[in-house]
Amino acid sequence: MPDADIFRALADPTRRAVFERLAGREMTVSALKQGFEVSQPAISQHLASLRGAGLVRERREGRYAYYSMDPGGLNALAAWVDRYRAFWPPRIERLKTLVEGLDP
């Protein structure tokens, strides 16, 4: 499962910016590099981390590689949010009931 690395992969500001630039489109490394003050190998390294986390996918066409957001990674993030949005409210209700019933 690539999930383990999703939050960590996005914690780096440059890597996050690379990821966000891919929203809704496919780009090559050299197109992605425009506007970033880092080298192309550094961008490639960020893309490798994002791919490792399941957030970005690569499509090869001849000599070129195109990168885009991976829906699988986005779904893992959405699943995390859904899980904890449902997880906490009933537990905090139970905590409240429990504490209010404790002897002073």
Binding site: M1, D3, E20, L74, L77, F87, R94
Partner: protein, 132 residues
């Protein structure tokens, strides 16, 4: 730090002083009753595992100020996502406690993800105020 714009936030008022609320966060026997089976701890550096109906959650106490604040590292088992949960206890004028729970990834902004997803996420930020 947790970026609250990207977190699940739950708040409630409890009719008991912070010291008593703290017991529910720091005593394993009480934590089992509201959270999940496991040896919950409030000793900085301690690690423990919760069993959420068969799903393991690995926790580590990152910060603990008795009756005020508890911060846990939180990782869903089997290679799940790593996050943080903080519980902040504030005394109320009536002698009770305002409890604020914030659970989220550390330093992640997902604005563009929200905009472009196929199935829209209504909001990554969830703030719930439970009835007092």
């Amino acid at each position: 730090m947790i970026d609250e714009a990207n977190a699940v936030v739950v708040e409630t008022d409890i009719e008991a002083p912070p010291e008593r609320v703290w017991r529910a966060l720091s005593e394993p026997a009480l934590a089992v009753a509201w959270l999940a089976p496991g040896q919950m701890s409030a000793e900085p550096g301690e690690r423990f595992t919760l069993d959420d109906e068969g799903r393991k959650i690995d926790c580590e106490v990152l910060e603990a100020e008795p009756a005020r604040r508890l911060r846990l590292g939180w990782r869903d088992g089997d290679g799940g996502l790593a996050s943080e949960v903080s519980f902040v206890l504030t005394p109320t004028p009536a002698g009770g406690t305002h409890l604020r729970v914030v659970h989220g990834p550390v330093v992640v902004s997902l604005a563009s993800v929200r905009l472009r997803r196929h199935r829209p996420m209504s909001s990554f930020h969830t703030s719930l105020r439970l009835a007092a």
